[in-house]
């Protein structure tokens, strides 16, 4: 068992999970971070205190073994946190995040994971948003042999806002994605988009459920899911569900999947681009529409690069 409990000292914080221990670098008066490892499971507690300046955490899982990680995130009133995880999880992973956003806090989560194709990876995130909170949740993955993504959002108080975007580029994988948005309080906003590219006998499923309680007037909730199927053997199954129990809401959902438009591919090849590269550009375009939802320039560049490398 190893235990770390230290104050970290700047707004940029590096948390590394390495071979024999956990390293939390940098001290700050704005963040309390502790890590406890027990029976192969790592428990990480992150508490961000109120600050005018956002704290940025770079999470790096460098250990060459299956990683079982439980993260508790607490953003105190007005706190701002940005988390970036670009880990490859070379032997697979199971990550559970439980985040609690207090009034006026802001959380940005960027997961750009290029997984080892032969591994199994599971990701579960439960997030509770208080009044005037914003959670921007961007997930980019190339998929793995077996992959599960499950996110449950509770918009628990007025004017809470969730912006979620999932991008999956799969290759010979089974990838199950679930996104549940629970509008529990009035005047909350959710805007979710999911895009999947399925190829090489891959199967992608997206279950997107929005529920709006009776008392939730002035709710705005949009959900769109799209799948691009690159070959005959691959599948995309999009299942949007809406449960609306209040008439004073603006809600929309859309789902569409299909093969690439041959007219577009011909247009690209007629300019000298090979069929293979034309398909790559097509995928980049299909996914690229969502990149522009990321208003953080640095993260937008990383997302572009991820898509370019994995398309």
């Amino acid at each position: 068992m190893s235990k770390l409990n230290q104050k970290v000292d700047s707004h940029d914080c590096l948390i590394q999970i390495v071979r024999n221990n956990l390293v939390v670098s940098n001290e700050s008066k704005y963040i309390n971070c502790s890590a406890l490892e027990e029976s192969g499971s790592i428990n990480l507690n992150i508490e961000v205190l109120e600050s005018d300046i956002a704290t940025r955490i770079n999470l790096q899982a460098l250990r060459d073994s299956y990683i079982n990680l439980n993260i508790e995130i607490s953003l105190l009133k007005g706190a701002r946190l940005e988390v970036l995880d670009e880990s490859e999880y070379s032997k697979g992973s199971e990550i559970k995040i439980n985040s609690e956003l207090k009034q006026g806090s802001s959380f940005e989560l960027y997961r750009l994971n290029k997984f080892n194709q032969s591994t199994e990876n599971k990701y579960y995130h439960t997030c509770n948003l208080s009044r005037n909170c914003v959670f921007k949740d961007f997930n980019f993955t190339n998929g793995s042999k077996q992959m599960t993504n499950e996110t449950i959002i509770s918009l628990a108080h007025e004017h809470a806002k969730y912006i979620g975007s999932g991008v999956v580029i799969t290759n010979s994988t089974n990838c199950n994605n679930t996104l549940k948005i629970n509008h529990i309080a009035p005047s909350a906003i959710s805007d979710c988009s999911f895009k999947a590219v399925s190829r090489g006998n891959a199967a992608v499923t997206f279950n997107g459920k929005i529920s709006v309680d009776e008392n939730c007037s002035n709710t705005v909730s949009n959900q769109i899911s799209k799948g691009l199927i690159m070959d005959e053997e691959s599948k995309v199954n999009l299942i949007p569900k809406l449960e609306i129990n209040n008439d004073d809401v603006v809600c929309s959902h859309g789902a569409a999947s299909g093969k690439p438009d041959e007219n577009v591919l011909f247009y690209l090849t007629s300019r000298g681009i090979s069929r293979k590269d034309a398909e790559k550009i097509y995928i980049q375009g299909f996914l690229g529409e969502y990149i522009y939802k990321i208003d953080n320039a640095q993260m937008q560049a990383k997302a572009k690069q991820f898509i370019s490398q994995n398309a």
Partner: protein, 243 residues
């Protein structure tokens, strides 16, 4: 430069081109006119390699190479360019990035290094100015939300970038207002040279007033029924195809 011999083409088992013969020499400008459904766009897409068009018989030799042995990208790299009647939208890909990619594909084929970013920007500005294209357009997605005129100008801009030896313009004048037609035509005229040939497909005389053809051919039922010089276009404009 291009020699089409006894070409027959069908789309979904409907015969569109019927034993077509057409020879285009280096530096020549050929206009193809004809009523709707006469096969004008079919010849354009067949030469460019659109898989929806089936070559039933015949041959097309492009600089001595059998065009139908090449895939669409190889035809482009060999110097054939089709300016689309309905340019395709490509959401998610910026126009600047797209133009740079297609330019670099051709540069690679010619054994050159990818273009330097500053040099690309310089050329982009210069070529865009010639067509009165605002630089802002290049940060938008390819043809997405472009007006009809912007799309057609973007086709001519791509042509300018790729430096082809055979240009097929499929109703480039449709959707262009008077000023845009003039600017586009001027840009095309600047690209005319003794080693670049054009096939200009159009319904109307007005484009040919700007880009003067060496030959005019009238298509009907997948065949050339009449050929002549520019006077033939004037005759069609006055009398129509019915006579």
């Amino acid at each position: 430069m291009l020699e089409i011999k006894k070409l027959s083409v069908s789309v979904e088992k409907n015969k569109i081109l019927d034993n077509l013969d057409l020879t285009i020499g280096s530096g020549e400008v050929h206009a193809i006119m004809g009523p709707n459904g006469s096969g004008k766009s079919t010849i354009a897409h067949t030469l460019a390699g659109n898989p929806n068009y089936n070559v039933d018989s015949g041959q097309a030799l492009f600089n001595g190479k059998d065009l139908f042995e090449l895939d669409p990208s190889e035809r482009s790299l060999e110097g054939l360019f089709l300016a689309f009647q309905y340019p395709i939208e490509l959401p998610g890909v910026s126009n600047a990035s797209y133009l740079k990619q297609i330019l670099n594909v051709h540069r690679k084929y010619e054994g050159k290094d990818p273009i330097d970013a500053a040099e690309f920007l310089k050329i982009l500005k210069e070529k865009s100015n010639r067509l009165n294209i605002p630089m802002e357009m290049h940060s938008r997605f390819v043809n997405t939300g472009f007006s009809g005129g912007e799309k057609k100008k973007n086709e001519v801009l791509q042509m300018d970038f790729l430096n082809p030896s055979l240009v097929i313009m499929d109703e480039t004048d449709s959707g262009l207002d008077v000023d845009a037609l003039r600017q586009t035509s001027e840009a095309v005229n600047q690209l005319r040279s003794s080693d670049r040939s054009f096939i200009i497909i159009t319904h109307y005389l007005r484009l040919l007033e700007y880009i003067e053809p060496d030959y005019v051919h009238v298509f009907q039922d997948g065949k050339i029924v009449e050929s002549g010089d520019k006077k033939l276009a004037h005759k069609i404009d006055k009398e129509g195809y019915a006579t």
